[in-house]
Assembly symmetry: C2
Homo-oligomer: 317 residues x 2
């Protein structure tokens, strides 16, 4: 297992710079008053392809050796990683093969195709996904880029907090949502080198709290298909991300489904930004643990903005 | 009739500076590709109280003479002006009296009260509103601040385009929605002095096209209660705003209800910002008049972001 280094993050920063936005950091007097903290929202919902994942995807794609270019890249994902890898591959002019369940929403398939991704459908089961993916990879010889358990991806995600600490000085804490742990791992990689005094918190849905339970247990616990509105956070930790989480994270906080939806709506209403349910989990955990954050300068990573505008979570209840 | 001067705008700029945001200008590669133009979105949806109206309201409130402070300010509005005037009065620590129809949404009443506004309810008719407002004004002696037909308000709104042309250089055109014409008048005031080569366009719902018909006819035409999703744009031009519109606007373009809703959803989806239907009218008109804007550098004023998240227009159909 190769663990990405600080030098890998620095190289990633130069590599991805032409292809990703330096996203803005927004503040909200209202939310500061409500929480008692000073909050700095790093808005990766404004990122290319709508999410931070494009950082890791671009680092992987633009770091590919020349002999791999013709074969391209491949992944199995129905979320932001598929979009981001398709975007990155398109910018480099190489093929991107995406295995997606045939039941994935048409809008997601259209979005992947819109960025030039080549979709192969599988049945909505792990066994089918793995079988179909193995076949695609064998036929194309494409380089597999895992959504998070990949040193290139983690080094790429680390560029986000490198920007954040330039844009918001003297932070006491940074908090980000945790699913597979790619963003949190990149954050650990960067901050443990550049700003080791900043405490790193992860935020997770109560209904998909495998990372929180892993953190307490001291080893990876993987849940089978948890159900949560924060659909980017259903996947389990893997070896690489566990390495960073177990070594550098201060704590993993959780929030209920209704707390997540309330926090999401509050951010939309007050900050006038469109972001995903996953991105609301950090604020939800801050609101229920105010004493931990009061008086602190807190960086919050708004991870993405790809949400189905026809089916917003507060309208489903 | 006192017509505000460029010096009034410069004074407004200094006066409101501590109380309003210098809002960001966002761009979208996707929307540039779609329109063939280079678009610069001046995001007043991120403004204090959620809309550009706070500029004019602050200029009026902070320009009040000392002997008026105790009596405060008053208006009749159920929209962003009521919010903005309440915010401004709250910052100066003076009372703000707002006459609102008793049928106005509870959320709007709550928002006005949240900023410290004192609401007096009237029946939902013009006669009741005028009678109740006259009574409130007589009892309080408060200074009436009209939502747009007021030189202090127009000078305040003019500070928006003064920022825009610093943030986005060499614009060929600026386009903004038109209702009563306060924002357009402020834009005319500023640009006719600072950048007279920039053409000014106004954008209006087809279903509330009284400004477009006035423009063609050469005199003010006022409609009675037009129906449109762009609920900030239902009010008619008045003498002061007609002065600016008739002298400085190049053309007034219109869009249908479905074109407005489509443009709104497109901006939410692609730019990840929450904005009002009114703010989508300019993009809707650009999309249906692509030849006019292709190859041009176009400033678009996103006027506000106060929208009911529980009832979005694309969900009502």
């Amino acid at each position: 297992m190769y663990i990405p280094t600080f030098e890998d993050m620095l190289a990633a920063r130069d590599r991805v710079k032409p292809y990703v936005h330096r996203t803005p950091v927004l503040t909200s007097e209202f939310l500061d008053d409500l929480t008692g903290a000073k909050l700095f929202f790093k808005c990766e919902n404004f990122q290319k392809a709508g999410a931070f994942k494009v950082r890791g995807a671009c680092n992987a794609v633009f770091g590919l050796s020349d002999d791999m270019l013709e074969k391209g890249v491949a992944t199995h994902s129905s979320g932001n990683h598929a979009l981001s890898l398709s975007y990155a591959a398109g910018r480099r002019g190489i093929p991107c093969y995406v295995v997606m369940p045939r039941t994935a929403p048409q809008a997601k398939k259209d979005a992947v195709r819109g960025y030039g991704g080549i979709i192969t459908e599988c049945e909505p089961s792990t066994s089918s996904r793995e079988a179909v993916f193995a076949k695609v990879q064998a036929e194309t010889g494409a380089e597999f880029v895992h959504p998070y358990n990949d040193p290139r991806v983690i080094a790429g995600q680390g560029t986000c907090s490198a920007e954040l600490i330039e844009q918001a000085e003297n932070l006491d804490m940074v908090i980000a949502p945790i699913g597979g742990g790619g963003m949190i791992s990149g954050t650990c990689l960067t901050l443990s080198n550049l700003a080791p005094n900043i405490k790193i918190y992860a935020a997770e849905p109560e209904q998909a709290d495998d990372a929180a339970r892993s953190f307490k247990a001291g080893h990876i616990i993987a849940d089978d298909a948890p159900v949560t509105v924060a659909d980017g956070l259903k996947v389990p930790l893997k070896e690489l991300t566990w390495h960073f989480v177990s070594n550098h994270v201060t704590d993993i906080l959780t929030a209920s489904e209704s707390e997540i939806v309330d926090a999401m709506k509050l951010i939309w209403k007050r900050m006038k930004i469109v972001m995903e349910p996953s991105s609301a989990v950090p604020l939800a955990t801050i609101l229920k643990n105010k004493d931990m954050f009061a008086g602190k300068r807190v960086g919050i990573i708004i991870t993405g903005g790809n949400v189905d505008l026809d089916s917003l979570p507060w309208m489903e209840t």
